[in-house]
Amino acid sequence: MLDVQFNLPLNNFTLDVDLQLPAQGVTALFGPSGSGKTSLLRCIAGLEHAPAGRLLFNGECWQDSQRGIFVPTHQRAIGYVFQESSLFDHLSVEGNLRFGYRRISAAERRISFSQAVELLGIAPLLARQPQHLSGGERQRVGIARALLTSPRLLLMDEPLSALDAQRKAEILPYLERLNAELEIPILYVSHAFDEVARLADHMVLLEDGKALASGNINGLLPRLDLPLALGDNASVVIDGVVASYDVDYQLLSLRLPHTEQCIRVAHQPVAIGQQLRLRVQARDVSLSLQQPQHSSILNLLAATIVELAVADNPAHLLVRLDMQGTPLLARITRYSSEQLGLRPGQSVWAQIKSVALLN
């Protein structure tokens, strides 16, 4: 558990947060540029000294301004990946990797040199100088360098934002492996929703230095009281389990949590039982009072309306649905809603036009 309380006056606002974050999985600090995400991360790293603050990591005190405790950055068991790659130019790739590695005692090492090199696929780069690497390669070296201090908490400050879409796609699988193979909790700062949707388990929504919400990403995204649900990108992520595969039609069936309902998606075969994450955008979901017949739409799911809210565009309504515990968002026109007489508690059929598999 990461217990975070900070009050730090910044240029345009004050960072003022009081959060309990899980010390496992990926926690995304999400918000628009200039919402205080990076400042919060820097406070946790000790790179910024908030005048009022308390920071406990699994019970270990890293800062307590009331008791005058401030553990300097180099004594905190963190790894930090900076936004722009920040490799030391006076050292080779290997020299960069070994910089932190040799500064921790052998007893503390839980990640071996070869393990980190293998995990990020940088073995061919070891002898190179940082100046001669591509942006994506540099960022991978930066991540491996941070891992080699065997951190107990990995802080990542928009590690992909300086990269183009292709490089991003090249690094994301490494980040997923990181999460899957090493049991290091990750705090991930980002303003890119697609990265967060793909990686995060837990999510903190920041705006003007305040935390609007903090919670499990599956539960947070469908909340109609948060700005996330109202924008054009309103969507939910669902962690489904592979139930079957139709070889003939090349369709993968994923069972939704807590239900017997499945979502089918065109995909290559995946081992049964594996968990995969889906993203369903609200604008791809339409509603019907009767079970639609003769439709080309593959995914028809029984759902109950929980609440309705006006979206950022007054012609639209957002409908929050529940499928036996799995939430779903639908964006429909206000006109349709009135025609159908939609109200909370009503049973409807959700038609999902498109589903994106995130990993």
């Binding site: 300097p72 490799l87 030391f88 910089f99 932190g100 690497l133 941070a146 201090t149």
Partner: protein, 227 residues
């Protein structure tokens, strides 16, 4: 042999003076440059200005005040006398002290620029990689500032070699003690020995040109510190 033994002695003395001054200035100037590059104290501006003073002051002014300070009535002189060291004016040690002031900006400023060009990011990175304060300074800041340190050494050395006014004021013209090349050239000219003066003067010219050429070839000081 175009150079007399007193010419050679002057050259040898000059090289000794420049080497000792450069080494001392690197040792003293690097921490000072680090402080100037990092501090947010109000003292930064006045101290930065004091460091830069020798760039604009006539060397005779520096020499004059040093002479007064190191003389029997001056504060430094009083101190050295009470320690049983006598006075430092008209000694080699006095020359070294004078050179330290005279060449200070030529050493401090390139190093300060290099430290400023590095910025705080590499040091923050090092801190997240478990490096403490001194570790960061010696294993990140200094190696990254290397171009600045090289420039500072070369400029400090070359500038000390060209020193004349300060030497004359506080050191005079004592063979093997304070008679450096620039003073020796002056002596030759005074004695109408233009041929002798030419050899030394041309030597200085070639030496200075060679140094500046090397620096130019090395490119800009304080290149990119981080990629």
């Amino acid at each position: 042999m175009p150079l007399s033994s007193s010419d050679l002695a002057a050259i040898w003395l000059t090289l000794q003076l420049a080497s000792i001054t450069t080494v001392l200035l690197l040792l003293l100037g690097t921490p000072l440059a680090w402080w100037l590059a990092r501090t947010r104290s109000w003292l930064k501006a006045p101290i930065g200005a004091v460091v830069a003073l020798p760039l604009v002051l006539p060397p005779t002014v520096i020499g004059f005040y040093l002479l007064v300070a190191m003389g029997p009535q001056g504060p430094v002189g009083a101190l050295t006398q009470s320690l049983g060291l006598g006075t430092l004016s008209f000694t080699f040690t006095g020359l070294v002290i004078g050179s330290l002031f005279y060449s200070l900006p030529f050493v401090v400023q390139p190093i300060q620029n290099a430290f400023e060009a590095i910025g705080t990011r590499p040091l923050e990175v090092a801190a997240t990689l478990r490096a403490g304060r001194f570790d960061r300074f010696f294993h990140v800041a200094l190696p990254l500032a290397r171009p600045g340190l090289v420039t500072a050494s070369v400029l400090g050395f070359a500038h000390t070699i060209g020193e004349f006014g300060v030497v004359l004021m506080i050191g005079g013209n004592i063979p093997d003690q304070t008679r450096v090349v620039s003073v020796q050239i002056f002596n030759h000219v005074e004695a109408m020995e233009y041929a002798q003066a030419h050899w030394l003067a041309a030597g200085m010219l070639v030496f200075s040109f060679a140094i500046l050429l090397t620096l130019q070839r090395r490119g800009r000081v304080g290149a990119r510190a981080i990629s």
